[in-house]
Amino acid sequence: MEEENNTEQQVPFKQLIRNFLIEVAVYGVLLVVYFFVALRYLGDPLARLFDSNLLAYAVIGLGLIVVQAVVLESVTSLLFDFLGLHRLTSGTPKH
């Protein structure tokens, strides 16, 4: 219980939730833009590659997954840090 209180002292819970909701909202806007711009233009070329060359499709597909993971990790980490959610990572309160 004492440890839980420590956590609350680090970052007030309400502020944490508010910042998290801001992150979700900002992230949501980025996602919509991403869906309309990137995925829209990626779909057809990848479908053609899928029909014509599965080996190239498999390699490029895995590459895309890895690249997107790295980019998304950077974006979400940046948002976490920018909105103060990074303070979650300081200290190790455990219960």
């Binding site: 990848l46 479908a47 490029i60 597909g61 895995l62 997107q68 790295v70 990790e73 979400t76």
Partner: protein, 300 residues
């Protein structure tokens, strides 16, 4: 949204939500979460032949995200993970070969399914028992929250086996252990994963804790490191068979990214025994899904 590769319309929001939920599980427990994602993907309209491959693709990306966060928190033993991958890959191939051999018998699905259910129930019961015991030890004996494990007998015996080469894993707190034991654990989990057709996260995480004696947080992070390679390998093989819709996986990954971050960060707020106690519920879901599949109620 139209997905031209699989040729279906699927609500992208549903895929993002599935990714988000599975991302939290993956980040927190170090599991792939295929047992949850696959039925939901099928339910929202993803064609059966694309479910497993696409899920593996999304799992690869999600594990990279959760791995990076766990690594920043110091929860990953890359050296240990790298050695285990060797055993895991060999184990997966042997398991797949065994299944091919057994397929001559009509009852193979039932036998493997029942075996899987029994293993998962045992893992669940044992993990719950041990975690509760550890929590009691923590409360009554004031033991270190990071060190307490209610069952250390096997790990001590494994560490006492001295078959060279002996290696150390400082990140995991292991001063000396036979490399063969590490590879054997990887082989065993890979064998089960290959035979049972599922990721090994259910089994690998408890094995890392109870057999190799690794702290729970490091076991979660190291398990994710392994999943990157096993799921990545699975993605390639399934993609070559035309069973992966990369666009769908990329959409799911957008939800998983934030879920995985939340799951990974949340691990700091729970002690090892508490994470293991929560984890003990997961294999029950896995067992339930296999039971429903055996009974023909769900298809994946």
């Amino acid at each position: 949204m139209n997905f031209p590769i699989s040729g279906v319309y699927v609500d992208p929001i549903a895929l993002v939500v599935i990714g988000f939920l599975v991302g939290i599980l993956g980040g927190f427990f170090g599991v792939g979460g295929g047992f949850l994602a696959a039925p939901f993907m099928f339910w929202v309209g993803v064609p059966m032949n694309f479910v497993v491959g696409t899920d593996l693709a999304h799992m690869t990306g999600k594990s990279i995200i959760a791995f990076k966060r766990h690594r920043a928190l110091g929860h990953v033993d890359i050296k240990l993970g790298a050695f285990m991958i060797v055993g895991t890959m060999v184990g997966v191939e042997i398991g797949a070969q065994i299944i091919e051999l057994l397929e001559a018998h009509e009852s193979v699905d039932s036998v493997v399914g029942i075996l899987y259910i029994v293993i998962l129930l045992l893992v669940s019961a044992f993990t719950a028992y041990e975690a509760i015991r550890s929590l009691r030890m923590m409360n009554s004996e004031g033991m270190d929250v990071n060190e307490v494990v209610g069952f250390q007998g096997v790990a001590k015996r494994i560490k006492s086996i001295r078959i060279p080469p002996m290696v150390s894993f400082p990140r995991s707190g292991i001063e000396e252990i036979s490399l063969w034991m590490v590879i054997l654990v990887g082989l065993f989990t890979g064998l089960l994963a290959g035979m049972l057709g599922v990721g090994g996260g259910f089994i690998r995480m408890p094995m890392l804790v109870y057999v190799l004696g690794i702290p729970t947080h490091v076991a979660v992070g190291t398990d994710l490191f392994e999943i990157i390679f096993s799921a990545g390998y699975g993605t390639l093989t399934h993609a070559l068979k035309g069973n992966v819709d990369i666009i769908m996986a990329l959409v799911m990954q957008t939800g998983a990214a934030i879920g995985a971050q939340i799951g990974a960060v949340s691990t700091q707020y729970f002690s090892g025994p508490r994470i293991r106690l929560f984890f003990s519920v997961l294999p029950l879901f896995g067992a339930l899904m296999v039971l429903l599949r055996l009974l023909g109620i769900v298809a994946v």
